[in-house]
């Protein structure tokens, strides 16, 4: 099998430049890097075809060996058009990033950083729980406690409980209680539909 070093050298140079560019923070440069990588890969596939040959247009007089290999060409043709689609998609992303954040730079993922700063104390795991000695806690009805009910009444609800401090925010106890409920919708959707 023959190996065309010219194609491979050019390919290597394109890979090097492409990798250099995608390690950049600027999204535009990352996209340019991706395009160079796509070109480099096309060259790699092309090189697998071996020696240059006749254009693969069938002619009865021509032997199968004399054509340039048609299979890599078919693969590359697919790759070229897909690269175009991906490039267009990336352009869309770049534009949208610019519109949303006035930035053409890849930011550090704040969520990832937040994970790294997770405190040792996890409310779900580490909050001390007072011993509960009943599934049916009694609620006194009226001030004198003369009658007893096994269900909390509306008057004793979280209405009068004031507010709860959660992180840096202060939220009303009723909202906090609502958020404790499964499937709580007690959140404000952000502009892109996510949770703000």
């Amino acid at each position: 099998m023959s190996v065309n070093l010219t194609l491979l050298t050019v390919m290597g140079a394109l890979y090097a430049c492409g990798i250099y560019l995608i390690l950049e923070r600027s999204l535009t440069r990352v996209l340019l890097g991706l395009m160079l990588l796509a070109n480099a890969t096309n060259l790699l596939i092309l090189a697998t075809g071996g020696y240059a040959g006749l254009a693969p247009l069938y002619n009865k007089a021509t032997g199968a060996h004399e054509y340039a290999d048609p299979l890599p060409q078919a693969l590359i043709l697919t790759s070229i058009v897909i690269s175009f689609a991906v490039t267009a998609f990336m352009l869309g992303i770049i534009y949208r990033t610019w519109v949303l954040a006035r930035q053409d730079e890849i930011q550090d993922d704040i969520e990832d950083l937040r994970v790294a700063e997770t405190p040792r104390f996890d409310a779900e795991d580490d909050t001390p729980i007072p011993a509960e000695t009943s599934e049916f806690p009694l609620t006194m009805l009226g001030g004198d406690g003369s009658t007893v009910s096994d269900h909390p009444t509306a008057a004793d609800g979280p209405d009068e409980a004031g507010s709860v401090t959660a992180g840096a925010k202060e939220i009303s106890a009723r909202d906090a209680a609502a958020e404790e409920q499964p499937g709580s919708q007690n959140v404000t959707p952000g502009p892109e539909g996510g949770v703000k």
């Binding site: 390690l23 040959g53 340039a68 534009y95 993922d109 790294a116 892109e192």
Partner: protein, 1020 residues
């Protein structure tokens, strides 16, 4: 048997609907399922206790993995099923009065409970190790759901999770053990494995089997809450009391005991069995009993009591002698009866009094004597008081251990003493429970206690009656258990019949050492009860021992911390860092491998292709372009340089003998250039390099090393190739099968049509993605036609300083271009005069239609000459791009009466149809037919049906280009115009650099805070 299981699961599935219809009374309907199954079980008695010894059912499941639904109802499974189904039914009856009418989510709860009963039944009748494991894990999951029933309470969530973690961890160890055991036995059928157990243990894989048994015991220990995993069971008290009753008496924790009992006949002689079972069992019995005496919550007294009893049961069941086996199952039944009774009583007390605290309950017995009597029977049975089930069972346990100790080993004496001590503790906490729950305590106000309805009390009452019946008439239980005990019987001569070796359950054995030990137990237990204040004081002086719960918390906490630490070191949020790590690995590993392998380079290397000597020249151009793109610090310069490489590669394709590629690459590069310019209009011209400095060196190293690695990897890969290329056949295939001369095109539309179909689907997706990114909501396919647009209104420059030079330019250009010349292009008049170019419009007019015709030619000729759907579609797209650039977005709208989304759909549908229609006509997917016909004007025509596929490709590509133009062109135009007409909103941020900085800082903190920009149409 499988019917019973199926009914359980089926009714569980519809349970939520039953609850919606009948409220809490639906529990009665659910209870009918295990109750009827219980009846069925009684009818099986004859078959199970016949000479065959079991009822088996096997259904194939996954034969390839030797997995099958193998069920086997033998005496052990039968006795376990009695508990599971019987107590399950009673607890469900009890639930119907325990829960209030207002309780939420009862449907889910009932379903889980019934499924839990079914799964437990499946667990004990499963005769396949893996099937049993599946049921085992299902009990874990269902118990997690049941314990966490009160999901809004932190305590319930936490203890449910704890139970899940502990039992799953044990379950994983067990899975490994099961696979080791099944593998060395060569079968996963439990009955078969037990039958060949002796040969397995003594055979060559004896060590593996011993290890496997230890791992399986680890699963059993975690499930049955033995030390050191005993803490999860008291934690699981956060479950509703009926769940606790079922978990403790019949299910879940009994699964571990069952597993020990199941394996004991075969494996109780393996190396570590006795020390694990007896050592941990004894420790658990003592720890549980000790801690039960410290509790002030009556439910926790019972919970630690269960821990203690589980240790006890494990010891008895695992001892591996006939008399212990008999006693073990007897004890299992007795424990199920009294523990269920007591838990249900606790539930009633909690329900009626609103507390389970010993320090608040007082005088309950006076208010509900029936409840007191029921509880008294249960507690007495637990303590082993004569005439009750507990006494009968415990008597034979003591008998077995006295017999065991009579061998004279010091170790077995320790066990016997430990058991007696444990029984003393059991007696003491039983008494403490009765005192705590019912006694009148001085100084405590009488508890408010609502009357107990008979329907509420029914279930515990039935259970306590059963305890009495069992105690007075143990013969039937004896008969049930004897066949299991006989499995342990020695076959040595002179050992006697199995029944003689096992002994019998009886109320009165005569004056035996066991009876003496019982008397001793009672005496010491009573002493501890009456001296309870002394005991409490002594206990409070002992510092908190090693607390399993605390250990668990610390372990989980440490695990969390480690995870956070590792995540913090590796997930730093920097894409650069991630990519650098990935890419470094990507070149370091292959490079190392290549260097280590030290293979010589292949022979046939050449720089200059004899057939194409110009390649190095073009290659140099490409490399220069790429380097310039890297260095460029202006945005469009960089884009142009990348285009240079792209065009260079097109040239390279041409030189290599690939005209199709060259053509397509040229067209794509051109359209990409247009798209780049359109999309990046609003971005600043400078490309700032913020990753400078030390990172640059690393990036150069990674890039260069990656490039070099790729070169050498490619050289070696190509040099290693020995096979003849498949593509040598392609020319012939293309001509004869595909009916086309252009081999590449036939490859795309025929030989590899599936591939191409996948690709155009990706194109459609990407196009939709671009449109969604820009339009945000919807694809924006409904654009207004140009007639409705005011003349010269599009892209009009506003806010130009009147005195400036630009204003003068503007005035002149408006003057020259003011007339409405619709002659050349349709919507040119909508553009602002200063935006129009007469030359461009004329040229567009001249070449648009030619280009479209040319694209059609490329499409149709593509089968035989360079061209095809891709090239044709791109040419047509280019024509549209020219129309857009000359006449603005309304011109584009006029040029394409069909929306981009519609085009993509039609294209995909056409391509798909060309694949499906041959199938309908009896051929294969994407099969090609060659149709030759004669038409009057055209003469002989040879039409190949794969052209239809190519037409689909053509339309999809046009749709893609159109989407790009509409999104990156028209829509962004519109964004700009809206910004200009509403400058107050965004202008300061755009114009003043200082303001941009401020804005950027704000963004850095609150990146999602900026509202999405979209047009009115995008929002609609």
């Amino acid at each position: 048997m499988i019917t019973v299981l199926a009914v359980h699961f089926a009714v569980a599935a519809v349970a939520p609907f039953l609850f919606r219809a009948w409220g809490r009374n639906a529990f009665y309907a659910l209870a009918a399922v295990p109750a009827v199954s219980f009846g069925w079980l009684l009818f099986q008695h004859g078959a199970v206790y016949s000479d065959v010894g079991a009822v088996s059912e096997v259904f194939p499941w996954i034969p390839g993995l030797d997995l099958e639904f193998a069920f086997r109802l033998d005496p052990l499974a039968w006795v376990m099923s009695l508990l599971i189904l019987g107590i399950g039914a009673l607890v469900l009856v009890y639930c119907a009065r325990y829960f209030s009418l207002k309780d939420q989510d009862l449907g889910g709860f009932g379903a889980q409970f019934l499924a839990f009963a079914g799964v437990m039944f499946g667990l004990v009748i499963a005769d396949d190790l893996l099937l049993m494991f599946i049921f085992w894990e299902l009990t874990t999951i269902l118990s997690y759901l049941l314990i966490g029933f009160a999901r809004t309470r932190l305590a319930a969530r936490r203890s449910a999770l704890q139970a899940l973690m502990v039992t799953t961890a044990g379950g994983l160890a067990m899975l490994v053990g099961l696979i080791m055991l099944g593998h060395s036995a060569g079968t996963y059928r439990i009955s078969a494995i037990l039958a060949q157990a002796p040969t397995l243990i003594s055979g060559p894989s004896g060590g593996i089997v011993a290890a496997a048994v230890v791992l399986i015991l680890a699963g059993a220990i975690s499930k049955s809450a033995l030390v050191p995993f005993h803490f999860w069971l008291p934690g699981a008290m956060a479950a509703p009391t009926p769940v606790s009753a079922y978990l403790h008496a019949a299910a879940m924790v009994k699964a571990g005991i069952y597993l020990v009992a199941r394996l004991a006949p075969g494996f109780s002689d393996t190396a570590y069995w006795q020390s694990i079972v007896l050592g941990l069992g004894l420790a658990t019995m003592l720890v549980g009993g000790y801690r039960a005496l410290r509790q002030t919550d009556i439910k926790l007294i019972l919970a630690y009591g269960t821990v203690s009893q589980l240790g006890f049961l494990t010891m008895v069941v695992g001892l591996g002698t006939p008399d212990a086996a008999l006693a073990g199952l007897a004890m299992l039944l007795a424990h199920g009866l009294f523990k269920a009774t007591l838990f249900l009583v606790v539930g009633i007390i909690d329900h009626q009094a609103g507390t389970r605290d010993v320090r608040q309950l007082s005088g309950v017995f006076r208010q509900s004597r029936a409840l007191g009597i029921v509880a008294g029977i249960g507690a007495a049975s637990m303590a082993g008081v004569p005439l009750l089930a507990g006494f009968v069972a415990k008597e034979s346990v003591l008998e077995a251990f006295v017999h065991h100790a009579s061998g004279g080993e010091a170790w077995s004496m320790v066990v016997l003493v430990g058991i007696v001590l444990g029984s003393v503790l059991t007696f003491a906490y039983s008494a403490r429970f009765m005192w705590g729950a019912f006694a009148v305590k001085p100084g405590i106000e009488r508890t408010m206690f609502k009357a107990v309805k008979p329907s509420f009390l029914a279930a515990p009452a039935v259970l306590s009656v059963l305890s009495i019946v069992y105690g007075l008439w143990p013969a039937s239980v004896d008969a049930w258990v004897q066949p299991y005990a006989a499995l342990f019987a020695s076959t040595a001569s002179g050992a006697g019949t199995p029944a003689e070796q096992a002994g019998h359950l009886a109320l009165w054995h005569g004056f035996t050492p066991a009876l003496g030990l019982t008397a001793l137990t009672f005496a010491l237990g009573l002493a501890m009860y009456f001296g309870r204040n002394l005991v409490a004081r002594a206990q409070s002086r002992v510092p908190g021992w090693i607390d399993g719960d605390r250990m668990y918390q610390l372990t989980i906490g440490a695990l969390d911390d480690t995870a956070v630490w590792i995540t913090g070191r590796t997930q730093r949020g920097s894409l650069y860092f991630y990519l650098a790590v990935i890419l470094t690995m990507a070149f370091a590993l292959p490079l190392t491998a290549m260097v280590l392998a030290g293979k010589p380079l292949p022979d046939n290397l050449y720089f200059i292709d004899p057939y194409s000597p110009l390649q190095p020249v073009v290659g140099a151009g490409i490399v220069i372009g790429a380097l310039a793109a890297v260095k460029a610090n202006k945005r469009f310069l960089a884009v142009l340089m990348v285009s240079v490489t792209g065009y260079g590669i097109a040239l390279m394709f041409a030189l290599q003998g690939a005209p199709d590629l060259a053509l397509t690459q040229m067209l794509v590069e051109t359209i990409i250039l247009v798209a780049f310019v359109l999309a990046m209009r609003s971005l600043p011209a400078e490309l700032r390099d913020r990753t400078g400095g030390k990172y640059r060196v690393i990036r150069v190293i990674i890039g260069a090393a990656f490039g070099v690695t790729m070169v050498f990897a490619a050289i070696h890969a190509m040099g290693a190739r020995v096979a003849v290329p498949v593509s040598l056949e392609f020319p012939r295939l293309a001509y004869e099968g595909g009916g086309g001369l252009n081999i590449v095109n036939v490859t795309l539309v025929d030989i590899r049509a599936w591939d191409t179909f996948g690709e155009i689907s990706v194109l459609a997706l990407a196009a939709t993605g671009v449109a969604s990114l820009i339009f945000v909501r919807g694809r924006g396919d409904r654009t207004r036609v140009s007639e409705t647009i005011a003349e010269g209104s599009v892209g009009r420059q506003v806010a130009v300083d009147p005195g400036s030079r630009e204003a003068a330019d503007l005035a002149i250009s408006r003057k020259f271009a003011a007339s409405a010349r619709d002659a050349w292009i349709v919507a040119g008049r909508t553009l602002a005069p200063e935006r129009r170019s007469i030359i461009f419009e004329v040229v567009t007019r001249l070449i648009f239609h030619s280009l479209i015709i040319f694209s059609l030619y490329l499409l149709l000729a593509g089968h035989n000459l360079p061209g095809g759907g891709f090239a044709g579609g791109l040419t047509a797209g280019l024509a549209l791009a020219i129309r857009y650039l000359a006449g603005g977005r309304f011109e584009l709208r006029e040029a394409t009466p069909v929306g981009a989304g519609t085009l993509l759909g039609i294209g995909l549908a056409t391509a798909a149809a060309s694949g499906v229609v041959p199938l309908l006509l009896g051929g294969q997917v994407f099969q090609t037919a060659i149709i030759e016909l004669w038409l009057p004007v055209f003469g002989d025509i040879k039409f190949v049906t794969s052209t239809i596929f190519d037409i689909g490709v053509y339309i999809v590509v046009i749709g893609l280009v159109l989407d790009v133009l509409r999104s990156l062109g028209s829509e962004i135009d519109e964004h700009f115009e809206e910004q200009r007409t509403a400058p107050a909103e965004d202008a300061p941020a755009d114009d003043a650099p200082a303001a941009t900085e401020v804005q950027a800082d704000v963004h850095a903190e609150e990146p999602v805070g900026v509202p999405a920009e979209t047009t009115a149409r995008g929002q609609g």
